[in-house]
């Protein structure tokens, strides 16, 4: 019954979406305001209908209604409630439903929070957004219907892949989709602006908070996925350059570029057509990622059940959405002439350089991801592109960006004084040199990567703090004056500072985890001791434990340092009742300087195979991602971006814009 209601709601939503997509765009040239305004209420109706469909599917999962094929294939009565709910999006059909739910939510949010938008732009944006929904609703209804019924109702379901039964992964997809799909708003705004032929500072100001919100979600989503890989896959890795990971990383890179170029449009009325282009590719890459993951053109460790028929459908969607918008861009783009001129050495110049690097990096990841496909298509064999390629190409590309990040924020608009800045930042040089030397003393001759990474991280961290000191004229005026200036810094500046510091800490974490990891793999008998990076692990024993829907072997390790007990680690190896591969639950004890990490494996002779790690600075990686997110949130809370703010008078707007420039 509920499943049918859900199915019916979804069909209705398709009709509403068609109306919302077609009517305002058709009425636009006729100048019919009333027809155009239909977009607003339609977006709310669309959201309610899709939410109802999603609720119906969730109901089927929670009540274990195995007459629904999707539930029978992906759920089980023994699963804890959390994983019954997360099972809704732990499969292809349900995840697509989540995808359109988020599309509709964003559309509805534009209607609700966008009261101060010009009605033409708002209606066109909602219409474009709705056309995307039409495509995906058709995709769901024709190729991936989650409400399909089964005639023979099985006694129990086949359960969710045990690897996915994990809190980190329960929330990873929703965040990732909020990010991916969030870029659809920037895309819809860009297409609406192309249709209207007008991009100006206010357009950039309206787009930026949506882009920022999507970027925050995507950052959290990627970090959660990486964290999950770290503790669930059980060998201490956190990023694998797998096609699916790349599919989420490319929109992140393009979105980061978009965030920065939108500032230039807002403040300086330049880089307009470039910003539109970035808005198109940020969402385009999200769509591309979906295509790659679900069509089966590439093999990946976490590909969904793939199906060429679905691939054809998504490819057609891709052609319409991206091909169409690039065609529109080719026609309308040249007329978007920017007003603000600037010298290469200036804030604009620095941001443009940032954009080039981020776009090049995106291109590199795209090339690496698609290379196996290209080679396959021209029948030159099968290859896979792995970490060595990315490490060799990606790091050199990103390094100049990180170096510039310490300088860019201090450059003036239009024309910057690079010499002046460089001559004053001796503190930053000193700190960087000190970090390199300190790393050398502490780590000895363990390779260049470590000195380089720590130097780079310190450069960025101290450089960012030094930016703040310059802004508040620390030491150049009285301390009280400096404090006053500090308090007056806009939240957007704070957001930038926090996010840039976050990246510095992330780089330090990556450097530590990538260069100084210690790994010991051996067979241990009870009572055996192994020393890993100065910590003594003692294998105390194993016992069998019973979880809600699995049996597990639990290995106990005590860890001592200098004779003192640091912690007791309990590592599990689980075998789920419904079969499938056993999963490892690594035992992790996080500390400021690194994680103690233990995995227990198969029985071998009298003992067990154990893997013990020292993962240095890994907490910095997660902390850095946290700061990136926090920086985004602080910037989002800046009053210029506050989406719900009541309409201000033109005068007030102008005053604020002037204030921001000063």
């Amino acid at each position: 019954m509920y499943a049918e209601i859900g199915h019916f709601a979804l069909i209705l939503a398709l009709f509403v979406a068609v109306v919302q997509g077609v009517v305002p765009l058709a009425a636009g040239p006729m100048g019919n305001r009333r027809w155009m305004n239909i977009a607003g209420p339609a977006s709310i109706a669309q959201f309610i209908l899709i939410a109802a469909a999603f609720a119906a599917l969730t109901h089927a999962f929670v009540t274990s209604d195995f007459s629904v094929l999707n539930v029978a294939k992906n759920s089980h009565t023994d699963k804890p409630l959390l994983y019954k709910v997360s099972g809704v999006w732990g499969n292809h059909e349900g995840s697509m439903l989540l995808w359109v739910l988020i599309l509709a939510t964003f559309g509805c949010a534009v209607q609700v929070f966008g009261r101060n938008l010009p009605s033409g732009l708002k209606n066109r944006t909602l219409a474009v957004q709705s056309l995307i929904t039409v495509g995906f609703l058709m995709f769901i209804l024709f190729t991936s219907n989650p409400f399909e019924r089964l005639l023979d109702v099985p006694a129990n379901g086949q359960s969710l892949n045990p690897l996915l039964q994990d809190p980190g992964l329960a929330f990873h997809p929703p965040f990732l989709y909020l990010g991916y799909v969030g870029f659809s708003i920037a895309y819809s705004f860009a297409i609406a602006a192309l249709i209207e032929g007008r991009v100006d500072a206010s357009w950039a100001r309206w787009v930026r908070p949506w882009t920022l919100a999507a970027w925050i979600f995507l950052t959290v989503g990627i970090a959660l996925g990486s964290w999950w890989a770290y503790y669930e896959l059980g060998w201490g890795g956190w990023w694998f350059w797998d096609p699916v990971e790349n599919a989420s990383f490319m929109p992140w890179l393009a979105g980061t570029a978009l965030l920065h170029s939108a500032i230039v449009v807002e403040k300086r009325d330049a880089l307009k057509s470039w910003t539109i282009f970035l808005a198109i590719i940020a969402f385009g890459l999200s769509l591309l990622g979906t295509f790659l993951v679900r069509s089966g053109v590439l093999t990946s460790v976490h590909a969904f059940a793939t199906d060429p028929e679905r691939g054809v459908f998504i490819l057609i969607l891709l052609i319409i959405a991206i091909g169409g918008s690039f065609a529109l861009y080719a026609v309308r783009g040249p007329s978007l002439v920017g007003g603000g001129l600037f010298k290469p050495v200036s804030r604009e110049g620095a941001l443009l350089f940032n954009n080039w690097i981020l776009t090049t990096a995106t291109g590199v990841v795209l090339l690496g991801t698609l290379y196996p496909l290209f080679i396959d298509v021209i029948d030159a064999g099968k290859v896979s592109v792995g970490a060595p390629f990315y490490n060799r190409v990606f790091i050199p590309i990103m390094t100049p960006l990180v170096i510039l990040m310490a300088l860019g924020p201090l450059m003036s608009w239009k024309r910057g004084d690079a010499k002046g800045i460089l001559s004053r930042m001796y503190l930053v040089y000193g700190a960087t040199l000190a970090a390199v030397i300190l790393t050398f003393i502490l780590k000895g001759e363990e390779g260049w990567g470590g000195y380089f990474g720590m130097g780079l991280a310190t450069w960025l961290a101290v450089g960012t703090l030094w930016d703040v000191a310059e802004r508040i004229k620390l030491g150049k005026t009285s301390f009280g004056q400096s404090l006053k200036r500090l308090a007056r810094q806009p939240r957007a500046t704070w957001g930038m500072t926090i996010a840039h510091l976050g990246l510095a800490i992330t780089i330090a974490g990556m450097t530590g985890a990538g260069n100084w990891k210690v790994e010991k793999i051996q067979v241990m008998n009870f009572g055996d001791q192994i020393e890993v990076a100065g910590f003594t692990y003692t294998f105390e024993g194993v016992r069998d434990i019973r979880g809600p829907n699995y049996d597990a072997l639990e290995g106990t390790f005590t860890v001592h340092k200098d004779g003192k007990l640091v912690t007791t680690l309990l590592a599990e190896k689980r075998e789920y009742d419904t079969g499938g591969m056993p999963t490892t639950e690594a035992a992790i004890y996080p500390m400021f300087l690194g994680d103690l990490y233990a995995v227990v494996g198969d029985k071998s002779g009298d003992g067990y195979v154990t893997r013990l790690y020292w993962n240095p600075l890994i907490a910095w990686l997660w902390g850095g991602c946290g700061l990136l997110t926090l920086g985004g949130l602080v910037s989002l809370s800046d009053r210029r971006h506050r989406v719900g703010a009541p309409k201000r008078s033109a005068l007030a707007n102008k005053a604020i814009a002037e204030g921001a420039k000063a």
């Binding site: 694998f240 057509s273 282009f277 198109i280 590719i281 295509f291 069509s295 089966g296 053109v297 590439l298 093999t299 460790v301 060429p308 691939g311 054809v312 490819l315 891709l318 052609i319 991206i322 091909g323 690039f326 065609a327 861009y329 080719a330 783009g333 040249p334 698609l370 196996p372 496909l373 290209f374 396959d376 298509v377 064999g381 099968k382 290859v383 896979s384 792995g386 793999i521 591969m581 056993p582 198969d602 195979v609 893997r611």
Partner: protein, 180 residues
């Protein structure tokens, strides 16, 4: 006029990409059409043992029983993905699986790999010269061949063996071959 062409670049790039995707969709990345060896007796080979072990692998070892010959390497991520399933086959005594290790940078790598993840193979030979790889037409790893009792290659499977591929394709074929 030049700037107009500039704005066309994204569209042109995208069209090229779509053509690749369209062709890519017609191909299954885990399937190859190099069936040259199919239904041919495997050639003679004699491979050296894994460092620290006594026995290598030769064509004679494989004959006599329906078996799998699995080409792998410690460098190969997909092999690791397939690995638990091979271990399961060994535990269940389902079929002899012979391993051919190739393209190692360092002969110790495979020793470590086996110690770390377990050894699912009945016997392992190391193709240190690369000759066997060429003879068998290997283009990547993992690749798995089904060889019948007479030593004739009956099937080539590209990519990691999944439980589905095992139950749906390989096992029926193996049972068929066992009857012969």
């Amino acid at each position: 006029m030049n700037s107009r062409i500039f704005f066309l670049i994204p569209l042109i790039g995208f069209v090229v990409l779509v053509i690749y995707f369209a062709i890519g969709l017609t191909k299954d990345p885990s399937k190859l059409d190099t069936d040259v060896l199919l239904n041919q007796p495997m050639g003679e080979f004699k491979l050296v043992p894994v460092k620290g072990r006594e026995e290598g692998l030769s064509a004679e070892d494989v004959k006599g029983k329906v078996s799998l010959v699995n080409f792998f390497g410690s460098w190969c991520v997909a092999c690791l993905q397939e690995h638990p399933f091979l271990l399961k086959l060994k535990r269940e005594n389902a079929i002899p699986v012979y391993g051919v290790d190739w393209d190692e940078k360092n002969p110790n790598d495979v020793v470590r790999w086996l110690a770390r993840h377990g050894d699912p193979y009945t016997k392992i030979g190391v193709d240190d010269t690369g000759e066997t790889i060429i003879d068998w037409g290997i283009t990547g790893a993992p690749e798995t061949f089904v060889v019948d009792k007479q030593g004739v290659i009956r099937y080539k499977f590209i990519g990691p063996i999944s439980p589905q591929a095992w139950n749906g394709t390989l096992l029926p074929l193996i049972e068929e071959l066992r009857k012969q």
